[in-house]
């Protein structure tokens, strides 16, 4: 069976973001961009399923600026077979991304779609669920274990009180949690080979998807700064401060 993996180009997770002075957005100029960490885990899981013989072909898709082809190439170097880049300069919203992914999944006849559980820039945690709803299929979100058995997939999910396992009919949508796997590093020969793998370029218009958003960002501001704290010299001083200054313990 075929798998579709969705990857997003985001600011590198180690970068401390700066809000623009005009409060319009976060300043992304000259910042290091990477594949969203949760998406890297999705790629790794697809590659592992291919290595187990469950999946024959991995298609990786990204919707975003032209530069997002770097992230698709990264996924190809990790073991995906071919890429689809849907180029748009518009800000991508989960519902629109889900609509495009649905059409790619339908056209390609993919039986498993793997996505990260959330992108670390918008922190939405929506796209996989929306895609599952649009396709009318089951979803295994926040997955920490994925086991394909015949025409079903068992997904162990990280939930608030612990873990939950669900069985989904294929086709199904899976969104990855951090503990699903540890992504491999791309080796240089694989990076070279990835440059020759096919990469289709499309636009949202090819899928008839309108990218205009009904959500308007009014402003973006830095969070309230915490006032500088004090360093205490001993446990006694700490206990005293907590009791008499902060008054948080009796």
């Amino acid at each position: 069976m075929k798998a579709l993996v969705a990857v997003k180009r985001v600011i590198d997770y180690n970068v401390k973001v700066r809000v623009k002075a005009d409060h319009s957005s976060v300043d992304l100029s000259n910042t290091k961009m990477s594949i969203n960490p949760f998406d890297e885990i999705a790629v790794e899981e697809a590659v592992r399923l291919k290595e187990k013989g469950v999946i024959d072909e991995i298609i990786v898709a990204s919707i975003g600026p032209k530069e997002a082809q770097e992230q698709i190439r990264t996924a190809l170097a990790l073991g995906a077979d071919r890429g689809v880049l849907v180029v748009t300069e518009d800000k991508t919203q989960p519902l629109q991304v889900a609509k495009i992914l649905k059409q790619i999944a339908d056209q390609e006849g993919t039986e498993i779609v793997l996505l990260g559980k959330q992108a670390i820039d918008d922190d939405n945690n929506q796209t996989g669920q929306m895609l599952a709803a649009l396709m009318g299929v089951g979803q295994g979100t926040f997955a920490s274990e994925v086991v394909v058995e015949g025409d079903k997939v068992n997904v162990t999910r990280e939930i608030d009180g612990g873990l939950q396992t669900v069985a989904l009919d294929l086709p199904a949508i899976i969104t990855t949690d951090l503990r699903l796997n540890e992504p491999r590093f791309a080796k240089l020969p694989n990076i070279m080979k990835a440059k020759k793998k096919p990469l289709d370029e499309k636009t949202p218009a090819d899928f008839g998807v309108d990218m205009t958003s009904k959500q308007e960002i009014v402003k973006v501001v830095p969070p309230a700064e915490r006032s500088a704290g004090v360093r205490v010299a001993s446990v006694d001083e700490l206990v005293d401060k907590l009791k008499n200054e902060a008054k948080v313990i009796g």
């Binding site: 559980k117 918008d122 922190d123 608030d160 951090l178 958003s213 205490v232 700490l238 948080v248």
Partner: protein, 310 residues
């Protein structure tokens, strides 16, 4: 039109997350209804009817809703959505799981993890792991949001007298089924609603040290226990104890971080705590930049001493 709140519950009682979500919903409109979907949920329904400021409780009681499966719950909520201007759920793993499905079924964009309600169409939410706050205005005719429960003071659990309406129409998508659940057992307060949280990081070095050093302090303070991702990945504690961008968001009165450096992803989960204490042997640890009180010390000496002196 009325506001629909999805209740987080365990079939016998409603969770505090629901009370915070009702508080957020009250800022979006006056007429708040609560949906209790589950199996054998009479007790939870009755509890929901007592919540202050709720005018109506919708009860959907069927095996199809027993484990809050997103496939079935989203169909149920979308089915009754026509009567509501807003659909609101707590940003718990349950809410995060099914609400985007609801939004897609209704063909509207949604807002996740809202931390403030400016008006019925305008909301604040954190982005980039809490390193920026976006004010977002939506012009969708149906507003679908999940709310960060630590950002809203819970309404009273009693004092209300809502009428109860039973929903008979059962939605079962038949695409997914529940297999099993493995819940971490604990007598401690729930992490996301605890007044005090004691968290340990990589420096604890083992699960035994959590038991030996963190638990006694938590017991003394009546605190919940949290952990950094490093401590979870190293297998010291189960992953539902993880605090951070990818774990739980907490905002207790007192947060004690022991042996936690304070990576961006961890700070995203706790920097709205009222008072933050850090105990670390590295004076340069980033946690120092948010800690109200920073004690540079070996935690294996400082934690027992702190426990004995509180």
């Amino acid at each position: 039109m009325a506001i629909l709140v999805y209740a987080e519950h365990d079939n016998t009682s409603v969770k505090k997350a629901t009370l915070s979500t009702v508080a957020a919903a009250k800022q979006m409109g006056d007429d708040v209804h609560v949906l209790v979907a589950g199996s054998d949920n009479e007790a939870a329904t009755n509890a929901a009817a007592q919540i202050e400021g709720v005018s109506r409780v919708l009860r959907a009681d069927n095996a199809a809703y027993a484990h809050q499966m997103a496939e079935n719950i989203s169909l149920l909520v979308a089915d009754i959505a026509a009567n509501y201007s807003h659909i609101v759920a707590p940003a718990t793993t349950t809410g995060k799981n099914f609400m985007p499905r609801v939004a897609a079924l209704l063909d509207v964009s949604m807002l996740s993890d809202v931390t403030a309600v400016i008006d019925a169409q305008t909301f604040e939410r954190p982005i980039y792991a809490g390193n920026a706050t976006a004010t977002v205005k939506t012009t969708e005719d149906k507003v679908v949001v999940t709310v960060r429960t630590t950002s809203f003071d819970a309404v009273a659990a009693t004092g209300g007298s809502a009428e109860v309406e039973t929903l008979d129409n059962v939605q079962d998508a038949g695409k997914a089924s529940f297999v099993s659940e493995e819940m971490a057992k604990s007598d401690r307060p729930e992490l996301t609603s605890a007044e005090v949280v004691v968290s340990g990081g990589r420096a604890l070095a083992s699960g035994e040290n959590f038991t030996k050093y963190i638990e006694p302090l938590a017991d003394k303070l009546g605190a919940a226990i949290g952990a950094s991702r490093a401590a979870v990945d190293a297998g010291f504690v189960p992953n539902d104890m993880q605090v951070g961008q990818t774990g739980k968001i907490v905002a207790p009165q007192l947060y004690i971080a022991a042996g936690i450096s304070g990576a961006i992803q961890h700070l995203a989960g706790m920097k709205d705590s009222k008072v933050i204490v850090a105990i670390n042997n590295d004076p340069e640890a980033p946690i120092a930049s948010v800690a109200d009180y920073f004690l540079e010390a070996d935690l294996f000496e400082a934690l027992p001493e702190l426990t004995s002196k509180i």
